[in-house]
Structures are given as C-alpha cells and as structure tokens.
C-alpha cells in the first residue's frame, strides 16, 4: 500500500505489459508506459487501440494480460474508485435529451457521489468557469456543437478529478471554438494541476496542449516522448502552383534538398522541404528559372503521413 501511495505521487498512470484481445484479434499489445502528472497526448489513427486503452483506463474493460494502476487504483479491480478519480469526456454527444445544461452537469455530480445540493452548486460554478452561464437553463438540444463540447467538459470536471480523459475534445469545432477549447485545456492542466490524457488524431491539438505524447499503431506503442521531439520529426510541406516550363525549376529544388512528393503534371506540386528552409527561396528559384509561382500554401505533413514515416523509420 505504501508502495502504491509513493508510486501514486510520481505517476498518474502506470501500465506494465498490458494486452487486450477480442477473440483472435489483439487490440493492444504489450503496452508499457508511465505517465507522470502532466498533459499527455494519445495519438493514433482509427483502429490503433486508443479506444480500448481508454476503456481499460476507465475500468470498463479488464486487460487480457498485464497490470496497471491509475492514481494508485488497480485497473480491472477497482473500477468504481477508478472512475471516481477520473473525469471522462466522450467523443460522442452523450447528452440526456430533455435536460437543461445545469441539470445535466448536476446529475453528473450526483452520479459521482455528490449530494444534490452540492452537485447543483458545483454545476453552476463549473458552467460559469466554462462560460456557459448564460446557456445553463437551455435544453441540451438547443446547444451548439461548441457549447456541447464545453458542457461535456463541465460534466467531466464537476467532481474536480485529478485526471481527465478527453476523447477528441475539439471534434466538430470551428477554428475559434477549437482554439478556445485548447486554451481551456491548457489552463486546466498548467494552472490547475489537472493531469490530462488527450486522445486525438489531430497533431495540432497535442502540440498546443500536451508536453508529451504516446503514439499507438495497430495496438502497439510506437513512440513515446516529448511533443517537441515529435514535432521535430514532422516535415514542413508546401503545395505549389506554378506556370511555365518547370523542368529546370524542379531539378533546382531537388538539388536544394527539396523532396517532390507529388506532381500532377498540370503545374501543381507537393513538396517536403529541409528543416532550415525559408519560404522566400521558392520565389528566388522560380525567378531564376523564369517560372511563375501562382500559389504557395503550407501543407504540413498530417498525422497519417507522419505515422507512416515514423513506422517506416522504426522498422
């Protein structure tokens, strides 16, 4: 017990050789990681095993093999205590039709074990903090997507848990809403000492909020490390639209270390540039070869591409 308590102070999540099988299909394979209090991004494409990992962390699914602790609670044994220590924000709407915002959050508080009076008071506090005070008496059906996301965060925060599991918190949000949500998560993690496990497929979300990252691929932990390290591995890419004879221009780009990823033959190129590349160099090269550069758009490597490249590097 003393060991767990001591362990608890250092690590929020501690998984050792954790695997999960669904019949013959292995969803998680030998996952071992320790998450210190902080903000961690859980990245992976569909089918990577993120959902299974979240189910296991929430104590809703027992691991097939391996052991783990979340905030000192044993996974697969202390499901109720575990969920009490976690605030979970699901990706799906997960709303109760007919309820008003304040009732929805207060109900979550009661389900976590708060008395009705405490839950109601806390619901108003959290909704005010999340800037939903004007909408708290509206029915859930009348909420916009952004408000629904904040409401789901409110119900996860109502009992002030030390750990938040967030499943695609920016899903369906417009850029402004997304930025607001990410700012909120960053504040919660940085200023209010909430540990956050942010499950997403958007690298930008992780970059903005988290200080470390886990990448899952086909049930295996592909990469574990700092966000800065991951971002260093991401390639800067551009989409170019050119007019004129581009043969010499393309050759010059190659000589400068630019990788041409795609050329549609009608003047549209997708290129990956070396790390010290400056955008102005495109215009200089185009001018040198009498090519008109009609369009230049940053088109950074997306997560899917990064996965494949990291996977290729790892293997």
């Amino acid at each position: 017990m003393g060991q767990i308590a001591a362990n608890d102070r250092r690590t929020t999540i501690d998984l050792r050789n954790l695997s999960r099988w669904y019949g013959d299909f292995q969803a998680l394979c030998d996952i071992t990681f320790q998450m210190a209090p902080g903000r961690v991004g859980l990245l992976g494409p569909n089918g990577a095993g993120k959902s299974s990992l979240l189910k296991i962390l929430l104590g809703l699914l027992p691991p097939s093999s391996g052991t783990g602790h979340v905030l000192g609670h044993v996974i697969g044994v202390e499901g109720t205590a575990l969920r009490r220590a976690i605030g979970y924000m699901p990706e799906a709407d997960a709303l109760v039709p007919g309820l008003r915002g304040a009732d929805y959050v207060a109900l979550a508080g009661e389900l976590y074990g708060m008395t009705r009076r405490e839950a109601q008071r806390r619901a108003h506090e959290v909704l005010t903090y999340l800037e939903l005070e004007d909408a708290r008496y509206r029915r859930l059906e009348e909420y916009s997507t952004g408000m629904k996301q904040r409401l789901k965060l409110a119900q996860a925060l109502v009992h002030d848990p030390p750990l938040l599991l967030l499943d695609e918190p920016t899903s369906g949000l417009d850029p402004a809403g997304r930025e607001a949500m990410l700012r909120l998560l960053l504040t919660l993690g940085r200023d209010h000492n909430k540990s956050i496990l942010l499950s997403t497929h958007l690298l930008g979300d992780v970059e903005r909020v988290c200080d470390s990252v886990l990448i899952l691929h086909k049930g295996r932990l592909l990469l574990q490390g700092g966000v800065a390290e991951l971002c260093r591995r991401r390639q800067d890419r551009y989409r170019l639209q050119i007019q004129g004879d581009a043969t010499a221009f393309r050759e010059e780009l190659r000589l400068e270390g630019v990788q041409i990823l795609h050329d549609n033959g009608r003047g549209e190129l997708r290129v990956a540039v070396p790390s010290q590349w400056v955008t102005r160099a495109f215009f200089t090269l185009a001018d040198n070869h009498r090519v008109l550069l009609r369009g230049l758009q940053p088109d950074d490597e997306d997560l899917e591409e990064l996965f494949h490249r990291v996977l290729k590097d790892e293997t």
Binding site: S51, L60, T80, A94, P97, Y112, E125, Q155, H159, T187
Partner: protein, 318 residues
C-alpha cells in the same frame, strides 16, 4: 461569431475552483437516475393525459364506493319502484349493485381495479419505454452514465425504479387508497380484519412492478423506438392472449398454453396474492398460479440476462 466575440469580451474574472467533499456510495446514484427518467416522462403532455385517464378509473371506483355507502345511509325501510319490474328494498338494491360492480371492498374488487388499471399502465409503458431507456441507447447517453462510478446494475436499478414508481402510482397506490377508503366508510375494523387484503394488494403490485419493469427495460433496450415497442407489447399482451385463448378454449389444448399470455399470468399470481380461488377467474380452465409464477420468473430471468449483456460499459468509447 457572436459567441466568440462575447467570449473575447469576457474579463478573466472567473477562475476554476477546486472542490473538496465526501462522495457517497454508488447506490446513491440510483435515485438521481430514476428522478431524471421520471422527469423526462412527465415533460410530455401525452403522459399527463394518459395518467389522468388512468385516474378516471380510480375515481370511478372511489366515488362508486362512496356513493353506494352514502346511498345506504339515505335509504329508507320502504320499498322503491323499479320501473315496471316491481318494487324492491333499497338496501337489497344497493347490495345488488355492490355485488355486480364489485364495489364492496372484497378481493375481487381490487382484482378488478388492477385489471382495468393494468390496461392503461401497459399503454403508458409502451409509450414511455423509448423515453426511459431507448433514448439512452439512441442518443448515446449510456456512456454518460456508465463513465461514472456506478455499475450497470445501478443504472438498471435507477431506470427500473422509475418504471416501478410509475406503475405503482397508477396501480398499487390507488388500490391502497381504495382499501383505506372502504375502512373509513364501512368500519375501521375492516382495516385490521382484512389486513391480508392489503398484503395481497402490495403483492399484486409487486408482481406487476417486477414483471412489467424487467420486460419494459429489455424490450426498450432491444427496440429503442416507440412504434416497434408498441408493436412488441401488442404482440405480447394482445396477440399472445388471443393465441392462448384459441389454443385452450378453441382447440382444447392443455391449460398450460395460457402461460404464453403474460398478462394472464400476472393476473393469476395477483389473484393468488389476494386469496382468490382459481375457479373465480375468467376465462376458466387456468393453470395453477405457481406455474404462472415460474413462467414469469423465466421470462424475467431471460430479460435480465439480455439486459446484462446489452448494457455494457464497453460501449463507452466509440
């Protein structure tokens, strides 16, 4: 856009406040689940209409008992003329009415009340099923509940409690009121001498509550939407009744075929709770009550097994 501007204009005055307090046991979450489910039902005006319809039957019994009692005190000794059929003593006439309408505080009176009220309850439940539990599956509310520190048993108990409250508000509670009214109108001793009837009423209510609750939760979890749910309940309680009647009364099959009629089975057990003989039950040729209890127990067990498999926490993450 307006929302974003509003957010931008809001001063940074609102801070997150930590919460420190004691959590209650997971069992404490059962009533909030039931309360919210009941609230969802009573938000619909249609349920108020049906509930008031259900109350009409209660009021018929309530004022029927009251009027006959009052008439008894007003009746004189002399006979009254009954149209062209001759004369009759008013007390005999009232006794005749009481016997015919079963408004006499007897076990049959309460059985009749449960039977009539049961039809309304079934209609209400068929309509309420999708709101109570079907919507949780359709609109993804299940992850909301199951990600909290409670088990699926607590969730099912909460939903079941909502159905139970509704059923008992329409059947057991009014029946107990009728029992108390008869004691007040006729004699206080009735309340003590016929205490077995009160237990019978509670027993009948319990049978209806358990059977209908489990059946509703299972069918609503399976079908989710109102129209298929109504069709299923019609099949269970109307076509199965017709089928069993055709097999037993028409084709002269074993009375055990009546067990496929679940409503008949609840009536049989209810009648046994009220201490009524099998011979007083119409239609005749009925199986014994314990076979009905076994049949209902089997169906309830099947429904519970289905529910345990269907209401799973692993649905939580998509």
């Amino acid at each position: 856009m307006g929302e974003s501007l509003n957010r931008a204009a809001t001063p940074e005055l609102l801070h997150y406040r930590p919460w420190r307090g004691e959590f209650r046991t997971p069992a404490a979450s059962v009533w909030p689940i039931a309360r919210v489910a009941l609230m969802s039902i009573f938000q619909k005006w249609m349920f108020w209409i049906i509930y008031i319809l259900g109350l009409l039957i209660f009021l018929l019994f309530f004022f029927g008992q009251y009027l006959l009692s009052w008439a008894e005190t007003q009746a004189g000794e002399s006979d009254v003329q009954l149209g062209g059929w001759g004369r009759m003593n008013p007390r005999h006439l009232i006794a005749l009415f009481r016997g015919f309408l079963k408004l006499d505080g007897s076990a049959e009176s309460y059985r009749g009340f449960f039977a009539y009220q049961g039809y309304i309850v079934m209609i209400v439940l068929a309509l309420a099923g999708s709101i109570l539990i079907g919507n949780d599956l359709r609109f993804g509310s299940l992850p909301y509940y199951l990600s909290k520190p409670l088990s699926r048993w607590h969730y099912l108990l909460g939903k079941g409690l909502a159905v139970a409250v509704f059923i008992n508000l329409m059947t057991t509670l009014p029946a107990v009121v009728l029992f108390a009214q008869w004691g007040v109108l006729e004699s206080w001793e009735y309340l003590f001498e016929r205490f077995d009837l009160l237990l019978g009423i509670l027993g009948y209510g319990l049978v209806l509550t358990v059977t209908l609750t489990v059946l509703l939760l299972a069918t609503a979890t399976w079908l989710r939407r109102t129209v298929p749910l109504i069709m299923m309940w019609t099949t269970l309680f109307f076509f199965c009744r017709l089928l069993s009647a055709a097999m037993v009364d028409g084709l002269r099959f074993s009375p055990r075929w009546r067990l496929i009629d679940l409503w008949n089975s609840t009536s049989l057990i209810g009648a046994a709770c009220l201490g009524l003989d099998l011979e007083t039950i119409r239609p005749g040729n009925q199986p014994p009550w314990y076979e009905a209890a076994l049949a209902l127990g089997g169906v309830s067990l099947l429904c519970l097994t289905y529910l345990i498999h269907r209401i799973r926490g692993v649905e939580i993450v998509r």
